[in-house]
Structures are given as C-alpha cells and as structure tokens.
C-alpha cells in the first residue's frame, strides 16, 4: 500500500519564497539592485527633495516619496524580470511545473519573494525620512503612508515584471516588455488630457502614478487608491498565471 500523501501547497510556496530570497541575498544581482536603488534615492533626495533653498519638511518628504517611487518601480521590474525567464532559460521550470503546486501558486510564490526583497530594500532607505523627522517637523503617519504607497506601486511593478518574465525566455527582453507596459501606464495621465468625456476619465484612472500615488506622497491613505494598486497587481498576476498555464497547451 502506498504511503504517499498529498503535499501542502503552503509549504511548497514557502519553500520557493525561501529559495528566491536566498538567491537575491546570495548573488551579486540582489546587492547591485539594492545598491543602485539606495544610491539613486540618496542622490535624488539630496539634489531635488532637499534642494538648495529652505523648504517645509512635509514638502521635502513628499518630494522624497515622489522620486523614490521611480527607483522603486525600476527595482520592482529588475527584481521580477528573472523570476520565470531564468527558470525557462536554465531548463529548471519543469521542476516546479511537475510539482504539486498549481501554476497560480508558483506565480504567487515568485511574486512574494520579489515583494519581500523589495520591502527589505525599501527598509534600507528609511534613514532619509528619519533625517527629515529628526531635523524637521513631520508626522509618522506621513512616513507610513508614503512607504505604503511605495510598497503598493512596487507590488504593481513586480506583477508587471513577472508577467514580462512569463512571456519571454530572456530576462533582458522581459525587462523591456515590463518597462514598456509600465511607461504606457505611467503616461496615461497625458493621454487622458487629450481624450474627452468618460473615456478620458477611465484612461486617467488607469494611470499608474498620477492620481493614485500623489495622495500617498502627501501622507493620505485612501481605500480606493489601495484597491487600485492591488487590482493592478492581481490583474498582472492572473495574466502571468494564464501565460504559464497556456504553456501546458502549447509546448
């Protein structure tokens, strides 16, 4: 009689997250992305957010979140571009796709590993708002809201990057695919200006940064903006799952 029992999906997801996190922290790629993110954020903070003339601390912090959102989006794409593409290129994807995990669980595991890494990288930037907090007058709520916004916009870019990674085998091309989608979504606010009527409103609503991130920059958390970023994330994760599942039907 067989002693085999059905494995738990949670432990499989946890295992992949652990391995991916180990990959980010044990290879140069993770450190290069973290270092580049810190360097860029620090430079933008010093040159643009702090500026050369006296400013209100809250404005400095808002600008800091504005500039850091750009590095966060870029880091999200760089972290996620390899997630599936690298497995396909190395021929290791069958190890995952023949396991007891569903394609959706594989995507979720990959997503959370990149999100956890991004959260860790964001944690390293906390010294900049801490400096503003120390030498100026800002609320902790403003800092919290800003970082929640960064995590949410980062989550969306990771989902977009993961989608790019499921579509093509090359990490570079995956990053380009994700970059194009992100730029298009970022620039929808400009498109909305030339589209009239309700369609213009819809296009403006879909802009990745404009209406939805600015409230976080200013320390305001609204459910609708949180829901927007979670929806973008969910949409691209479902697309990624469908692409991965579709491979079982093609080749």
């Amino acid at each position: 009689m067989s002693t085999r029992v059905k494995p738990s999906a949670f432990s499989g997801v946890k295992l992949i997250v652990k391995r991916e996190l180990g990959q980010y922290l044990s290879t140069w790629a993770g450190y290069v992305i973290a270092a580049a993110m810190l360097l860029l954020s620090g430079l933008l903070f010093n040159v643009f957010a702090l500026g050369s003339s006296p400013r209100y601390s809250a404005d400095v912090l808002s600008d800091y979140f504005f500039y850091t959102s750009g590095t966060t989006i870029t880091a999200g794409i760089l972290l996620s571009m390899r997630l599936i593409a690298e497995e396909r290129a190395a021929g290791t994807l069958p190890l995952l796709t023949t396991s007891s995990l569903t394609d959706g669980q594989i995507i979720i595991a990959k997503y959370f590993s990149a999100l956890a890494s991004l959260a860790l990288f964001l944690l390293l930037t906390i010294y900049m708002p801490a400096l503003v907090l120390y030498s100026g007058k800002i609320s902790l709520g403003h800092v919290f809201a800003g970082y929640l916004g960064l995590l949410l916009i980062g989550s969306s870019s990771i989902a977009i990057g993961l989608f790019g990674s499921t579509v093509v085998k090359s990490q570079l091309v995956a990053a380009i695919v994700a970059g194009v989608i992100t730029v298009v979504m970022l620039s929808l606010w400009m498109t909305a200006r030339v589209v009239e009527g309700p369609l213009g409103d819809v296009v403006g609503y879909l802009a990745l940064h404009d209406k939805h991130f600015r409230p976080f920059m200013d320390g305001n958390v609204s459910t609708s903006n949180v829901v927007f970023y979670l929806s973008v994330t969910a949409f691209f994760l479902v697309l990624s799952r469908n692409v991965l599942e579709g491979r079982r039907w093609r080749a």
Binding site: P7, L15, T92
Partner: protein, 309 residues
C-alpha cells in the same frame, strides 16, 4: 496502474501524437522507441503532466491527470526531461532536499531520504559538491535523483543516457534497472541496445502513432523473422552439431550457422522460443555455454523495419 486512452496532441494543425492507448503495469520498465520527431518526447511530457493533451485521457494509479486537480496527480510522477532541471548554484544534497520538500516529502524524513537516493544513484561522494561542478554523467544522475526523491509511483526518463560515455551508459542501465524495485519506469532513448537490455517492453512509435508493442523477441516474432542470437559454446564439433540439430528439430530455432574460433564454437541462430530455453537445451546436451546475446544488427533491422515510413 498507468493507462492512456486515445491520447492525442496537436501543435496547430500538425498532429504530434495520435490515439495513443497504452497500459503499463506496476514495476514495469517500458521503453519508447522511435525516430526523431516521432512523438516520444511529446508523449512523455503529456504523461508527466507538463503538456496538456488535445484529447484523450491519462490515468495514474486510477486518478485522472487531465482532471480539474491535475496537481494532485503530478506529484505521484517523477520526471527527468531531456535537459535535467538542476539549480547550478545548489549543492547536490541541498537540491535534492529542495526537490523532496517541493513534492511534499515529510520535512523530518527528508535528510534520510536524501541519503537513500544519494546511495541509489551513487552520488554520495558528490553530495556536498555544487551542481555546476558536476560532470555530464553525474548531472544526469542528479536529474534521476530528483525524479525519484519523493518516491513517486511512476518515473519518466527522457533520453537518460544522452551524451554519456560507454561506462556511464552501463552504470545508468544498472541504475534504471534498480529503480524497478520501487517504481514503474517509462523511458525513451535512441540507444537501441539500452532500450532492449533495460526495458521489459518496448512501445514503438512512428509519426505519433503506436505501431508495435512487446518485448524485442515478441516484436521479432510478430514481424516473422525471429530474434537472432549469438552463442559461444564449448564442446566437441559433433556434440555441438547434434545439440543444434536437436534444437532445430524441437523447433527451438529455425536456422543456425557455426564456426570454430579461439577453442570455442561461435553459433548464430534464429530463435523460435525464448533464449533461456535454448540455453537450457545446450547445457543439457553436455555443452558449455560461455555467452548468449542478441545480435545488435538484428535489433537495428527490427528498429528500421518498425519505424520506416
């Protein structure tokens, strides 16, 4: 325990596998034999759950692999693709532990299971070696180790001896035969002697369709030629002639030829029965039997006969 029913796969309008219906019993080693592009890999990938069939059904231990919860069936299968799915940055031990846990093997029992599989695949001395440092032969072994680490019911090996040297092929053959004690094994190969010497049964596939199934002797018999074997017998010329004539009269062989070489008789005969029956008849005839083996050339002609368009 493994059954496929009218399994069909289309890539666009091209049919890669058509109406494949086979049944494989527990602890059987079955070999897929066919030319390049015949549909072997497509069939194996469908059986591993990597590829969805266009139509048809696959059952593993009575459970439908194409059903709503295919993942519940997939972990009962171990699969070695033509390119082993190895993480180069991990040690062999770490990788096998990862693969075992990924397939739900009880975490507390993983170290012991890893040791068992390292021993089975003779990877013990490389257990703590990083996979990128392994030679091609040992990478193949690590690939087989990941396929069996979770003690699956069915092990599928796609070209397991591809790129191995003759010594490694012999070792791999033994390893595959050793798997039979615990698993049902389905493999594909272009290496005809390997298929013949490793497998209990052959499935010959041509243009995506199953054209013959059975042991090498069965297939030869079905083709009407009878398997050809070579024997090395020790004894007097008259005794050898008498034993062979008697075997022919008893319909154990249909034809034979012999020549004396290095103090023994090299005999080529066409079997009408199992080789073990002929061996017994020779020994009972008072002859020494040094060797009895199928003629490779016969196997090749059988392969060509079955796979030609």
């Amino acid at each position: 325990m493994i059954r496929t029913e009218s399994l069909t796969k289309f890539y666009g309008t091209r049919c890669a596998v058509r109406d494949l219906s086979v049944s494989i019993a527990d602890h059987e080693i079955v070999g897929f034999l066919g030319l390049n592009g015949a549909g072997k890999t497509t069939a194996l990938r469908m059986l591993a759950g990597l590829l969805a069939p266009s139509s048809g059904k696959i059952e593993v231990e009575g459970r439908d692999l194409g059903g709503e919860h295919a993942e519940d069936v997939r972990w009962r299968i171990g699969f070695l693709p033509d390119r082993p799915p190895l993480y180069d940055d991990m040690t062999v031990r770490g990788y096998l532990a990862f693969a075992a846990q990924l397939r739900g093997f009880d975490e507390a029992k993983v170290p012991r299971r890893v040791d068992e599989v390292l021993e089975l695949t003779s990877l013990g001395q490389y257990a703590d070696e990083v996979i990128s440092h392994l030679s091609h032969g040992y990478r193949q072994r690590a690939g087989i180790a990941q396929a069996v680490i979770h003690d699956p019911a069915l092990v599928i090996l796609d070209e397991p001896t591809s790129g191995l040297d003759p010594v490694q092929i012999l070792e791999m053959r033994k390893l595959i035969r050793d798997l039979k004690a615990q698993h049902t094994v389905l493999l594909s190969s272009h290496n005809l002697p390997e298929i013949s010497q490793t497998c209990d049964r052959l499935l010959v596939i041509r243009d995506g369709q199953l054209v013959a199934t059975g042991s090498e002797a069965d297939l030869s018999h079905k083709l009407g030629s009878g398997a050809k074997v070579e024997l090395e017998l020790v004894g007097g010329g008259e005794a050898v002639e008498a034993a062979l004539a008697k075997a022919k009269a008893a319909n154990l062989i249909s034809a034979y030829g012999k020549e004396q070489k290095d103090g023994a008789w090299q005999v080529q005969a066409t079997l009408q029965t199992g080789p073990e029956v002929l061996a017994k008849a020779c020994i009972e005839g008072g002859l020494g039997l040094r060797r009895l083996q199928p003629l490779a050339t016969e196997l090749e002609s059988l392969f060509l006969e079955l796979t030609k368009a």
